[in-house]
Symmetry: D3
Subunit: 276 residues, 6 copies
């Protein structure tokens, strides 16, 4: 099973040579019950005893794994799994920072996961100190960092508070999901960076095919944008928002859209006309 | 096949010990062609010669079957099948009334079924005399009882007319489906009871997964509410409307949502956000 | 495979006795990647070397094939495939015209197909001279005939230009698709005929099941209408628009709706209520 | 639904213009539970009240329906459904005989169907008097006609008895299924005709895909053979046996194999080698 | 998820009121990769941290749970999961014995499960002391109890050794699977009981649909037989062997065959002929 | 589509960096109709105009592509597609030979492909001169090389003739498929190498899941064996035969079995027992 997951990554061109195999620990899985309309989707996590939750500092040779790379991305799901996984995350972040990599973190708060005795803020607060680009939604920031915006709905106040609390952050990106129903969302994002505060175009997504992976697609698009067009924070934000908007039309976890599809959407074509 | 249906009921905790098996008669079935947008769904009934349509008074030992229960619910589909099935329905209703049970009836008018020589009002008018709680939509009331409201669109006038014609009714609940298209409906309900006339919250259901079973879910929710919170007619109405709203997000005939999902919707969360 | 396609036509009552079988040439196919929301559907044509693209004048005995028929319909896809297929199309149109048939042509411009060295207008301009009823959308007219309307958005100006350039045309029908997203379109049509300029009712199609075949359904509905109710151009237009509106609720290429479903929609019932 | 069945017939080139549509009566259906190994497949018939069971003499204009044809084939399932269906069958057979058609009958004994008060022999005995070619298996002959062979296992004795009892029969064909298990059968047939008693090649069918329709395929193959090669009874028998052998490799009721596949098997290639 | 499993049991009429729900522990699952021919099926267990593996003595109120029942059956899979699950099993067996129930145990040796530090014989040897009817295959006996037969292939020697080592056993049943390939097995069983040593009929199963659950079906059939026909050990053995033979024709874990199907096989009909 | 095929290769760890993409030419495909029992599977090739059939000498930089590799394998399907593809094959073989690689060729005769005007022997005879290890079945040798064995059935005579005609060959491996039916084959192979003439174990494959890819699996296993255990021709032959035997239990073109599964079969376990 785990080998199947590795092969799926390899299919999409991910370098899988750094994956560590262990004798103990399961492959963490989850079950998804897909909602519709007023009925929410429901995730049942089955990650107890998973290999990653059993990982501990020293298990990974971070300097070697990070050698030759320019960016290191981490999700807040890993430190939610267990104390030792949180330690491994910290270890990795420190190594990456020392190695001079750009480091991004998606807070990814998951209420159902934080149950090993620590609250999310107790753990996440320290991790964020080693991060350069922070990605989150409004609830993530409140639940993972304990930071509330100064005014209701004022997302700029929120990002300002985050940057004040963590001056190491060069950019805070916040995705904004307006959930009308399980299959109808508004989708946009903001970025509070070094060049200013930017608000992306807003998309009305009316027939969501699969919203799982929407946030990950945003992170991927943002990292791509920031590395592809250094310093062009607004452009990277728009790219990330468009990429993750399109993810909602793709079934499964992976954002199987091409760069040219994203650029067509950025160019203004949201009409969904058949290409033939 | 019939045994499979019995097992499906048992799966969901229904007491199936009172089901009667016969040597003659088929299992009634129907075929559903699912529509979309402007195209209506289409039901083809195949219930001729079904066991229930062949049932006749005396076939069921009603006093024994109803012993120890507090509520008896009947659908208007049964008396639509055959003269003898109508007689069985009447027999059951009388027994239930005499036994002091609360009795509910969902009119469930089905144009394609009433073809054994009687019109719906000829049969239903008498049945309703033994009922306490009547459930219907506006068309049901007109077609099954021959009662029109006093003004166009004034549902309160309609329920008032029904209660006037049938003073035995303590509560008349009417579901209101605003069909924008095959997969986009408005959904709400009213109840004209002993405590007053109540109008439920209204839901916009924009991507219907399956609307079959919506009315049955309303009935089930209403009976649950009226027995759970006696006398709280408005609360029971809201519970029934929310429960049946959520049914539209579930594929198949059964409303596989939990009480906590219904209460979350009643509590105001119609956003369909992933629970994780 | 080709025999399977022939059988599928025969299933729906199409006379398949005139289909010509050859030893050379493949069955042309295409692949469809279905989009959603902002993500467009994508068609990959795989029609190189197909039997129809290899057809050449003389291959079909047009006088015999057209004998006893009253209408001949052609799609602009055929002349897009190859020079010889364009020649066959011209040969057929001339024969049909001489035989006194009514002749319709759906321009069906497909950017991905025109790659044998001729541009669409170079080929289509001559073909249209033999046509009586022209069917198209706005882009088709521009790309296939090189005709732009006199003002932005003024479709009547466009049909007037077409009729002026091709005085042989008795009717020009233009379908108007307002693509909000891949699964949400507005749908209407106009006809500039002998009795005047008519605008059809407009339909909001909010949850498209499959839009492939929408244009073909319009053509079929229009031909049916014009032959069923000669001279009633407005009525034929409404029938064609309603028929093709309903096609969007049917999966697959074929418009499997009945005449009575179309007439129910024309009669004003777009509510999609279950028929039972 | 019934129209779907008609279309499926038309797909395969069957002339469906003689099918009669009625306002009363269902489309008869059956349910099949597929067995394997020692577990038998199980058929649940749901044919009560079907249109064909309600048919009565005079409903079909047999002289017109049979005009211009050379062969009339009937299955013993029809007279098993109801007394009036049996009368219709008799009416048809008489008309066919008088019209000088060749007439074949497949006895097709179905224990679960004969329940309208007559036993199979009471009805079938008369029908067979109007038949030219009788098709059956050993159990059919015993159960439908009440004829036992003179010795156990001696099929020639059985056909001899049948021909003695019904001198009008020019040929009696008997299929021989050796049921090792639900998916492993031996398959062969004999024909007792005018040119002698012939025994077909025997096939070991070891991984049955679907045996439903095996007998019908035999009938079809035999009729094809006897009309294609008049008087060549052995050749027709071999064709029928090979055709129906191949049916066991095809899922569904229809024998979707080609004449050339049958002839390849007759030519000795039972190896199932990939053709490429 | 766990509720779904409970409902599936209830569907088949199992009393589920004694199932204990806990806040900790997952639902144990396994993955099955189905083999064919020379390729073996492969089971990947994912039962670490499952609720049953976390159960400990005292968690179940055995006297209450066993009250009013006559038979208690246990599988050797439970004590293979964890030390505490083994303790719970022992506790249950002791209570059942003291309550005067008949107690059966299927050894069900699973190599991949015994990994908490004890070998199977260290645990199972004590458990078997509280058992009346032991069910196993030859490998189970060797691996779970460390008992080898006196001669190769002599299963009677093996059961004799088991009964000698455990004089408390009134009957030892051994299933004999002759694995020709993944989808071709011979299947039979023996019982060494109080009335003698019995050998069942042997079945050749040539196209296995699903062999998972074969052993459980044997246990169920044996318990049914021994309670239905007390003292008729040979009859119970034949019933169990036939029932589990038929399981191989059913997809899934449950033996969805009826008593009458089993009795038809016992009556000699292994031909798999269609019942119609 | 072609990118999907590339990704599937990458999933399984194949280095895809040498694949050449062109603007012209389709992705060659084929359609498979799966047979059973006496009914053969049927392949319909749709490879006209495919990119590989349009390839011509000079398109591939063979010296660079082959640098750093030790073995080059070619299939006889490529030169069957077109004259230019045959030229490319020859070009590749010559380059590989000069580079000192070991070169293997699977003759893979496909009657339906050779239709560009050359017969298979006219083309293949020259190609084989540059080959070291030849892989084929008996029909391949006869049809591709025009070589018949000296006696019927004597495969050793056949390989001897081949090696005499092509003294450059160090090893000729011949797979022997005994087609009992479409889903029942015997499977074995021989190798006439430098150490002698070896006959593999023979496998009875009774329920073929998918035989497509059986020959390719043999080639892969043989190349693996000859490189893993140089000079151990018999061992390599047994590995290849066992690997390809197991392929018949896997659906799809790829042999998704592990080395340990192959070695278990080689170790004598062909019982298909569940591994748990």
């Amino acid at each position: 099973m785990a080998e199947g997951a590795v092969r799926e990554l390899r299919r999409w061109g991910v370098d899988v040579s750094g994956i560590r195999r262990t004798k103990t620990g399961r492959l963490g899985i989850y079950f998804l019950e897909t909602g519709a309309n007023q009925r929410a989707s429901n995730v049942v996590y089955d990650r107890e005893g998973s290999a990653i939750s059993l990982a501990k500092p020293g298990d990974f040779d971070w300097p070697r794994l990070l050698a030759g790379t320019g960016w290191f991305h981490v999700t807040g799901i890993t430190p939610a799994l267990s104390q030792s996984a949180a330690h491994v995350t910290l270890e990795a972040l420190k190594t990456a920072q020392q190695a001079g990599l750009r480091v991004s973190l998606d807070l990814n708060y998951r209420k159902k996961l934080w149950n090993y005795g620590k609250s999310a803020p107790e753990v996440m607060a320290e991790l964020v100190r080693y991060v350069d680009v922070l990605i989150a939604n409004e609830e993530d920031i409140q639940k993972s960092l304990g930071i509330e915006g100064d005014t209701e709905g004022a997302v700029q106040g929120l990002t300002r508070s985050v940057k004040k609390a963590y001056p190491n952050l060069s950019l805070v990106a916040v995705t904004l999901r307006a959930s009308v129903s399980a299959d109808r969302n508004g989708w946009s994002a903001v970025a509070d960076g070094q060049k200013g505060f930017f608000v992306s175009r807003s998309y009305a997504i009316d027939d969501i095919v699969d919203r799982v992976g929407g946030g990950d697609s945003f992170s991927a698009g943002l990292i791509f944008g920031l590395t592809q067009w250094p310093g062009q924070e607004a452009k990277a934000l728009e790219f990330a928002t468009a990429a993750s908007c399109l993810k909602h039309a793709v079934s499964g976890d992976f954002n199987l859209v091409t760069r040219s599809e994203i650029e067509a959407l950025l160019g203004g074509d949201a009409s969904g006309r058949v290409q033939r």
